[in-house]
């Protein structure tokens, strides 16, 4: 890959690269790599292309590594049991139990694949997998991303690194590939495919992180800041139906650093305490399951303590056995190594001093909660030819590493069935030319142009969302009037994107990232506005409708009209497939 190319003198000087394939995978992460490997297993003659914004060996959410696989079904338990647990974790639903069940039936095999590829899974002295909770297992996953990427390449996928997707390639209402640009080579890419699998990450950076005020830590957040919601945005712009975008992922994280806390509180049995030393999950949330309360309750709990004047809050690691503390540090070194550096930079020994915790900024991550594309059981979105897997596919919470991998395989199988006997048409030259002009315009506005930098707009967006659409500074609360304000200003921001200006190709990537974030944020606000109740405190809190309303025991959906930009919101019924008490695991 060449170093950054100089800016083109004109649009005509931008080279267009045409790539044809059977299956295009947007995003070479966990789900995308598993799709590629599955393609080679099903039919080695398939031409598979991966379009990757970074470099697949160390890209996206898995770049730093991983310390656990959060869902692996132990002996004696069934996929139905896992769905029951998933359902209880989202307060009894609604969720897509058909999707959850099909992932649950597939995910152990995907995790076994990872071990066969060289991932160390921790086992006890009898060789049994060591569980650290009901469903999650410990791994030494520092090399997780390289392992997956190597297998995708071995499988024969052609990888286009450093190519950012900006738009889907459409034939009428059908997806026949994607368009984008090389962030290093400055070329315009036209990928034509029989089927496209959208496997980008989720959306981080829609909201302001509370550490963003510190100038050197704008991206001190838990989710990968380079996953900006492009996967959702390209579908939204073509009128794809989105589901549950109001169910944001907010997690309890270590304060000022945003390291995972479940590792400490659940895996290492360190209780959450408030400033008074009270074990808050046991004393205040016993009726909701105490330490095993749903994740949104656990995320909200520390914030409630702060609001009530009982903050700060901590994970009480004091007195932890030193060997156990060493294992905890190793977990962190596998997933967020810089958290160990953070503790060292505070001179803190967690065995002597508890670890402070706080709520994270909100994310849209369909591998964790259930925001994303409405898909059928084959993982096709409502846009024919466009499939979704991992963080982009909605309806199916708590997929995590194993479930996103499983879904990559499922989406690929769906795509292969779809393309049988299908010949894609020639790309429409007018559409391609229009997108090329749109993509490169911010780079060609000239030095005298009185414009805006991506960073300015990103910070405006993040502050708007934080204060009006339920960010950390507002303890995740919002109401009708604030959402109306947010929507009004989001429309203004979209109009202002005409002033965005890029100094170089790296900047140009940032410009398109902020445009994508605005499109996702707008849909998110419509969903938050539609759900006039509070179903998942912390994830979705309406201060004007503080209780659960049985009328909203359904999926909230949206669709943006590609011609007018108008977003309609509607509902779909919840269907319970797995018997049992919806609120119990």
């Amino acid at each position: 890959m060449p170093r950054m190319a100089p800016n083109p003198p004109s649009l005509d000087a931008v080279e267009t690269v045409r790539v044809d394939c059977d299956i295009l995978i947007i995003g070479g992460g966990n789900a995308g790599c598993f799709s590629a490997v599955e393609a080679a297993k099903l039919d080695p003659s398939l031409a598979v292309v991966i379009m990757e914004k970074a470099q697949i060996m160390r890209s996206g959410a898995c770049s730093a590594g991983m310390d656990a696989i959060n869902t692996y079904i132990p002996e004696g338990k069934t996929p139905e049991d896992l769905v029951r647990w998933c359902r209880s974790q989202v307060g009894g639903g609604p969720l897509r139990e058909d999707l959850a069940l099909s992932n649950a039936r597939e995910l152990n095999e995907s995790v076994d694949d990872l071990e066969r590829w060289g991932l160390p899974i921790l086992r006890d002295e009898n060789g049994k997998i060591r569980y650290r909770g009901a469903w999650d297992i410990s791994i030494h996953g520092e090399q997780l991303k390289p392992l997956m990427a190597e297998k995708a390449i071995e499988a024969g996928a052609r990888v286009y690194n450093r190519v950012a997707c900006t738009q889907l390639l459409m034939d009428g209402g059908r997806c026949i590939g994607a368009l984008g640009f090389g962030v290093r080579d400055g070329k315009f890419y036209v990928f034509r495919a029989k089927a496209t699998i959208n496997a980008t990450g989720g959306a981080a950076g829609l909201y302001k992180s509370y550490t963003a005020d510190a100038t050197d830590s704008h991206h001190q957040i838990w989710m990968c800041p380079y996953c900006v919601g492009t996967g959702y945005a390209v579908g939204i712009r073509q009128g794809a139906e989105m589901t549950s975008m109001e169910q944001r992922w907010v997690a309890t994280r270590t304060k000022d650093f945003c390291g995972p806390v479940d590792t400490i509180s659940v895996g290492y049995k360190a209780p959450i305490i408030n400033a008074k030393g009270e074990r808050i999950m046991q004393s205040r949330y016993a009726h909701l399951g105490a330490d095993k309360a749903p994740r949104y309750i656990r995320a909200n709990a520390p914030m409630e303590e702060w609001l009530a004047g009982r903050g700060p809050t901590y994970c009480d690691t004091r007195g932890m056995d030193p060997e156990l503390a060493g294992r905890m540090m190793t977990d962190y070194l596998n997933e967020r190594p810089s958290f160990v550096l953070f503790l060292a930079s505070r001179g803190q020994d967690p065995v002597k001093e508890p670890i402070e915790i706080y709520g994270s900024d909100p994310y849209i991550v369909g591998g964790h909660t259930q925001s994303g594309f409405w898909v059928d059981i084959e993982r096709m979105t409502t846009v024919p030819g466009l499939f979704a897997a991992g963080e982009t596919a909605g309806g199916n919470p708590n997929k995590f590493v194993g479930g996103c991998a499983a879904e990559g395989k499922l989406a690929l199988r769906g795509a292969v069935a779809y393309i049988r006997g299908l010949t894609p048409p020639e790309p429409d030259a007018v559409q391609v030319a229009a997108e090329k002009a749109r993509v490169f315009a911010p780079l060609l506005r000239g030095q005298g142009f009185d414009g805006l930098r991506a960073l300015e707009m990103e910070e405006r967006l993040q502050r708007l969302m934080d204060e009006y659409a339920g960010g950390t500074s507002q303890f995740y609360r919002t109401n009708e009037e604030r959402l109306d304000y947010a929507l009004k200003h989001l429309a203004m921001l979209r109009d202002q994107t005409q002033y965005l200006q890029a100094g170089d190709l790296h900047d140009l990537m940032a410009v398109h990232e902020v445009i994508d974030r605005i499109d996702v944020a707008e849909v998110l606000c419509h969903h938050l506005r539609f759900r006039k109740e509070t179903r998942w405190q912390g994830w979705q809190t309406r201060s004007d409708y503080p209780d659960i309303d049985p009328a909203f025991d359904c999926h909230v959906e949206s669709r943006r009209d590609p011609a007018t930009g108008v977003i309609e919101t509607f509902t779909r019924p919840y269907e319970q497939l797995v018997p049992g008490d919806r609120h119990k695991p």
């Binding site: 970074a54 160390r58 100038t215 050197d216 704008h218 990968c224 380079y226 540090m329 810089s338 060292a344």
Partner: protein
């Protein structure tokens, strides 16, 4: 304040079309400047994932905590082996702890 590049150790991976840190960064943040050394486009945009640090063959890159969040000058250094990684961590009081573990199984095809 991540990442810091030591210009005495860094040679921009001379002879390589792309330096290892440029290749690794998931945020497209690293580049080799006219001085032949690696630099970061925007340190504020770093995720502290340490991918560049692990990839650097000359141990020329260090991740530092932003001072707004942590104090001067803790260090965390990875040493990459074939199937294992060793981490050396020194806190602001000079206390050093070493962690070593297997990060890849031997795979027989």
């Amino acid at each position: 304040m991540p990442p810091i590049i030591d210009p005495k150790k860094c040679n921009g991976c001379a002879g390589r079309e792309e330096s290892y840190c440029e290749e690794a960064c998931p945020g497209d943040l690293m580049y080799v400047g006219a001085d032949g050394k690696s630099h970061c486009h925007a340190t504020r945009d770093c995720w502290d994932c340490m991918s560049c640090v692990k990839m650097c063959p000359r141990n020329a890159i260090e991740t530092r905590m932003p001072y707004q969040l942590g104090y001067h000058k803790a260090r965390l250094v990875p040493i990459m082996g074939k199937n294992a990684i060793t981490w050396k961590c020194t806190d602001i009081n000079g206390k050093t702890v070493t962690y070593k573990y297997r990060n890849r199984l031997d795979v027989k095809d």
